[in-house]
């Protein structure tokens, strides 16, 4: 991280209600440029709601939120152009080829034909996928798909990329190789906002927030959190903070 901390996400008093239910209950936090920010929480804690709001897909009920310098209420189109998004559940279209996926997402992100051709060639070269250019995504091993999905999510050089459980289900070597890619992106100055259920991955983040019942229960560096709760690893931190009555509500 640079000495001067530039803010890329600012969230002030974010509230999102569904009827009487507060999915996000007065959230306040910042994410700094170039950091890897871990956004943790139990199932149903409200993480997905927050991510949808930060991506400009849902309007909050109230609060002041800026993403990549743009306002969440009336500049959602600019936000979408400046962010990337990837999740394990949705990333690439399986019934079209590697190149077609790159072309499709390049087009969606507003890149010119020339830029798409150039970046596609560069990307396939770097990922060693040149021989698979015309293969269907469904025919690729999961590890390759994931690498490609991440590269496609940052094809337009966004300021910020959201990764929603990107590593679910992959083997331990592939999972770590994926984190090498995340580090590389952060090193290039792309801010990474990531959710995960693997608590060892929480250790790789610069800072981690833990959400419980729609609120941010704690937010700090992994080492500070471990020190504060007097435990050895992030799994224990998570269990200490998030162990609540099961399934009160979703």
């Amino acid at each position: 991280m640079s000495e001067q901390k530039e803010t890329i996400i600012t969230v002030r008093n974010l509230v999102k209600k569904f009827g009487n239910f507060k999915a996000n209950d007065n959230l306040n936090f910042e994410v700094f440029k170039g950091e890897i920010f871990g956004f943790l929480g139990a199932n149903g804690a409200g993480k997905t709601t927050t991510i949808k709001i930060l991506c400009g897909l849902w309007a909050p009920t109230s609060g002041e939120i800026k993403v990549a310098g743009f306002d969440i209420y009336n500049q959602t189109e600019q936000i979408k152009r400046n962010i990337g998004y990837m999740s394990q559940k949705f990333s690439l279209y399986e019934d079209i080829t590697v190149f077609e996926n790159i072309r499709l997402f390049g087009g969606i992100y507003g890149l010119s034909r020339h830029e798409i051709a150039h970046r596609a060639a560069d990307l396939m070269h770097r990922l060693d996928l040149e021989h698979s250019r015309d293969k269907l995504i469904s025919s690729l091993p999961l590890g390759w798909r994931q690498k490609l999905a991440f590269s496609v999510a940052i094809l337009h050089n966004p300021k910020l990329v959201f990764l929603d459980e990107p590593t679910g289900g992959v083997d331990p070597v592939t999972r770590r190789k994926f984190w090498d890619q995340i580090y590389e992106a952060a090193d290039r100055g792309i801010t990474v906002f990531v959710t995960t259920h693997y608590m060892d991955e929480a250790e790789y983040c610069d800072r981690v927030s833990i959400m419980v019942d729609g609120r941010i229960a704690d937010l700090d560096t992994p080492s500070a959190l471990k020190g504060k709760y007097g435990v050895k690893n992030m799994n224990e931190v998570f269990l200490k903070i998030a162990r609540i009555k099961p399934d009160q509500n979703n």
């Binding site: 679910g168 289900g169 331990p172 770590r176 090193d187 992994p222 269990l239």
Partner: protein
Amino acid sequence: MALNINNIHKSFEGLQALNNITFSVKEGELFGLIGPDGAGKTTLFRIITTLLLPDRGEVDLFGLDVLKNYKKIRQLVGYMAGRFSLYHDLTVEENLKFYATVFGTTIEKNYDLIKDVYCQIEPFKTRKAGKLSGGMKQKLALSCALIHKPRLLVLDEPTTGVDAVSRTEFWDMLKRLQKKGITILVSTPYMDEASLCNRVGLIQKGNLLSVNKPENIIAEYQRELLSVSSDNLYKLVNDLRNEKDTHSAFLFGQSVHLTRKDRKESVKQVIKYLRDKGHGSIHINVIKPGIEDCFMDLMHKEDEFLLSG
């Protein structure tokens, strides 16, 4: 033995999904099948539960052959599929009633067995299954798999995508079911769950890498494993990978797990190398491997074996 699996082969359109799988599960055991997506876990479970035919090999459950006695076996097995097999437009209670009726029983008759799990969702019994949270769906699916009092419970990735707290609770529930005498076969991609099983099978690309007690798998690890940390984790893992005697270097939380080709004076040499590279606050010590270290090592050996033909 509750379950005997013998030389099972299965391929789909030329893709070898299962390659000569052989292992047994003892009666009353909690057995974990551990491996990533695409390893063949679901295919194997579908063969065991009589839903898919193997190309070759035999499976018997409580002495019954899966091909000849599939009807009897279905009464003995409770299967919770990876994608929840619940009817979203039925309520919690209707789902449970449906499964009970299909197996010719009633909720009341076997309430004792499911009580521990079901009581947590019973307050929502009039809610549609589609409106439940992930954790609640999981508990309902487990209740449905248990309602006919199976002798063997087969659970396909019940904790995937589930948070660390719910995962811990789910495993506590499994332990309590095991105490009631139910044999449990469970699959998971989470390596850290291995220690919660009596025995585990590690599976990768259709090949069984090892079957043993978790502590024995760890005892069989032959390399010297070093845990290394410094003031810059990303640079550390890259520098260690570029060192000539490095065999493998992987991130593990706040440190790097390192194995070397040569054991001689490894600690001293690594410290010197990292100092020369400009690292500060270098810590290095020999540690005991976890299941994930073992899995990665076995994966590597398997790849080498396949490459050497």
